[in-house]
Symmetry: C3
């Protein structure tokens, strides 16, 4: 190609190509299309931009640190334990003050357990026996507390059934738990929850504690619907906000979730970014089966006597586990998601046009007419075209005609 041809090609790169449109003077479809356009625009502006804040870049990888500290003491006077005062160190497990903590509300204490032989707890099917051979030596009792020693202990002389003797931590635990929770007063304990968060992408930090000069505020306030910046929660209220009753849950135990949600619009002032608390019961309280309701676990305190023998106090603790779950999202204006959302909104308009085209071309009365106008048939000349003979020349139809006509005119003149 010559230099001129190359230049022409290069220049033609900067010709702007734009779709040719047919204006269909059909008000029905026109109005329909405007409605579709408006809907998409409303969706784009209302949903994508206002509700979903599509103009923002977001950071959901929140870094969170939770520190909890309980306060409160309770005095109990039971026949088993005598006078006893319970303080934080006694009733919070584990003591570290992390985002999961457990408060003892009820307990079965089995003191002075030592390794030795005793009768298995009554009522365990696998330990029921009538003769020694029912208790093969060394076999563990299924769902029991020890291994069988080979002896069947009978309580009555002519009694037909007895219970296997076992080697275990003796004596074994009694099955009864108090019906009123021993530590029901835990309802009045308070927990201080300190939650510091950070959004690394935007280098934004905040805590859930009011930045106040009033020191006594943090000592006397209580979290409530009105006071969202006081981080001190009344345990009984947490449970009631989660839809349960503290004295009920205290008997069998349960799991309460405390959700802290940070939804920060960093285009606004940092002080507009607030924590939102919600409280739910995480274990399914509706399950009434004895085997699967509530929350409890066993632990022991180990001692050693003067002779060097270990003994322990085993405690079956019923109580409430509080799980603090922090999640959050921060958004800040960014040009890239803005463009992408506008772009894909406009692309959606294409889909709207496609739908209206269907109506125009196939569903209305004059569809045929519009179809002819919209679609222009062309065929390459080697295939048999509809021909028009002009001055003995063969011409392909449609736009080619133009060139031919131009030629014709110049010839004629």
């Amino acid at each position: 190609m010559g230099q001129v041809a190359w230049k022409g090609m290069f220049l033609s790169l900067f010709d702007y190509k734009t779709e040719k449109y047919v204006i269909a003077k059909n008000k029905k479809v026109g109005i329909l299309f405007r409605i579709v356009q408006l809907s998409i625009l409303a969706y784009l502006v209302g949903w994508v931009f206002v509700v979903k804040k599509g103009y923002q870049d977001s950071d959901t990888s929140i870094q969170s640190s939770v520190i909890t500290k309980l306060k409160g003491v309770a005095y109990t006077n039971t026949s088993e334990l005598g006078e006893r005062l319970w303080d934080v160190v006694d009733y919070v497990i584990p003591p570290q003050g992390e985002n999961v903590f457990f408060v003892v509300t009820n307990l079965i204490v089995t003191p002075n357990q030592r390794q030795g032989t005793c009768t298995e707890s009554y009522g365990i099917p696998d330990a029921v026996c009538s003769k020694n051979s029912d208790c093969p030596e060394g076999e563990p009792v299924a769902a029991g507390n020890g291994v069988k020693t080979g002896r069947c202990l009978k309580t009555g002389a002519v009694n037909m059934t007895g219970t296997c003797e076992i080697f275990a931590w003796c004596p074994v635990e009694k099955k009864k738990k108090p019906k009123t929770p021993i530590l029901g007063k835990a309802e009045n304990f308070t927990v201080y929850i300190k939650n510091s968060i950070r959004f690394p992408k935007f280098n934004f930090s905040k805590t859930n504690i009011l930045d106040t000069d009033n020191d006594s505020f943090l000592k006397t306030c209580r979290f409530s619907e009105d006071d969202h910046y006081c981080p001190i929660f009344h345990l009984g209220k947490i449970v009631s906000w989660a839809g349960s009753n503290f004295q009920d849950i205290a008997v069998e135990g349960g799991v309460i979730g405390i959700q802290i949600e940070w939804n920060c619009d960093l285009d606004k002032d940092a002080s507009e970014c607030h924590p939102h608390y919600s409280f739910t019961r995480l274990d399914n309280k509706f399950t009434e089966k004895s085997v699967s309701s509530g929350y409890n676990f066993r632990y022991a305190k180990y001692y050693r006597d003067v002779n060097g023998t270990d003994y322990r106090t085993m405690i079956k603790a019923y109580g409430i586990r509080f799980d603090i779950l922090v999640n959050g999202k921060a958004g800040k204006f960014n040009i890239i998601p803005t463009i992408i959302n506008i772009g894909s909104g406009l692309a959606l308009m294409g889909a709207g046009a496609f739908f209206c085209d269907l109506v125009l071309l196939y569903l209305i009365k004059k569809s045929n007419f519009y179809r002819d106008k919209k679609f222009e048939e062309v065929k390459s000349s080697t295939k048999k075209p509809i021909q028009v003979s002009v001055n003995g020349q063969k011409k392909s139809n449609s736009l080619d005609t133009l060139d031919q006509l131009k030629h014709l005119q110049s010839v004629e003149t």
Copy 2:
């Protein structure tokens, strides 16, 4: 502008503009385009809608609560510990029954450690000495158990190397661990895993426990491939499902992950939403380096003797840590994602058309012809147009020609 003009403009708002299409009677490209369209449609229907359920709004912020409880006892008789029965309180750490629990399978016990001076454990490079000045007083032994007292203790009279004396919890731990796990019987222990989940967006709750009236089911069943609603797992089987052998892992320790996945289609019945369990070994078992294989930690039980002096039993516990990881997703029909997915699928068709255009306009034999048909050149008349002289008149090319021709005809006739 006059009132009429305004009215005209307003009415023209409701004219429907639709792209003008050229129908290329080229079967090859036509078929290609239909194939592309069908592919996109298949992708949209098959992948986006059927597989990915693109018509659903989804909630991935699952709220989960896990309660675990182990059952089982084991009897051991070793020279060091004598006859001993291990129950849940002894071998589960921590006792709380959360989503991470550790089962002791092997241990090195160092009883009666007291603060005092003794020989550092043999074989620690930093504690090897030949004279007292090799053990500077007060300097901690690197990777050792205490601080040097300044004395070098030699076992033989003419021995050239000795070991530093240290101030530490004495005696120090012996390095040997039993080659067969002391608590190998832990393989037969069972763990009851209760998992309650909730999808807050749809307010949907479920547990992994079969809602049955048959109480004894939960006492006798074992989880297996066939019985996915029994929440009681045999520890040995969990390890074997994770691809390891319990007796192997029991010697050195390890970490097993129990994943519970909830993938709920809430358009179906709630009973169709099942938990799916999978088991993997989380620590890299292929690492054979002594320093980095297995899982163990040290803890101690602290006692106080009659004189008020503290002493402790230190235990190096090898065992298996089970991590229960719950994740899930719930989906429910929602009109907005449905529309968005249909819209973007249609937009994708535009991309398909673009591709076919490339073929039509540049890659086939008659590309030139179709290019001329598809693109119609216009130039505003002030710029110098390619002119065709008809009856001495100057005319711009292309569509303008039409108007000119019309004029021409009427003049001629």
Copy 3:
């Protein structure tokens, strides 16, 4: 319809319809459009494909297991505790070596607490009294250590205010903590962090430990900027990398986050997938309020004396909690996201064209001209069309003219 008509309809299915374009020979808009196209292309290639790796299918559900082990001993000699050596078992809580661990750096020890009566700690507002009736029996002291016994204890004979007597673990804790941390030497302790990860979707596993034959490497190395594959960290350096000073944080306590990020491109070799560490202080160190700064908790060791009475040593431990947070993402080439991203990029071009159209049709001088060319008005024939009289025939305007002209020519010749 006849068979021929059906066949025609079927064949017309394979006609390729392509938008008719108008080439506007306007260099300004043309260049503008090319710039827009290039921007979108640059965005698509540069941002979507190179930076965001849009051609990859990604897995963010990383399975991670963390095992930590501290090393180091410290010797202290205080008036309260006497000579004492602290080893790992003493200063790490909890001992299990999970992803969250706490190192004691400072402590207040209250030994030999027994249940009994004593004076409440001085300075608690609720325990200030002037007469016995100020201390109602059985009422817990708000933010105090026990329940009031009903007696007001006065230190001076004529002193107007005294302090209530309480039933509690006596004696109560003294409020003073050492200003220099008792375990300041913890700065030199090291922690070995083993992190095994797995991306289940791609079945890819890796650990943060260099796969080396040199065993001594793991015993002597220390993590540093240059040595990212050594998993042994110096506690003091972790704190300084997080922007704090160890001796400062050791007094009051704090929370340090250790983030391990795995960003793996699985199209490259597995050895290219490295862990990236970052260290941040998670509790807000800028909060200077006494009530909300630092990190501490209380725990106790329980003992039993020869008479069977429980007593305990309560420890208020200040220290540093380390939270190891693992997150990651793996990507691998996949055809579906590639197609989707290319498609939506092209769809975005449509948005660019829309923008240029606005410029061409409304913002430049010759907008009117281009508007006429782009939009072709059609009206169904029942409505009154703009007519051109040629040889007495009525013709609708625009392309229809062509057909008429063809007719005309053949008539004329």
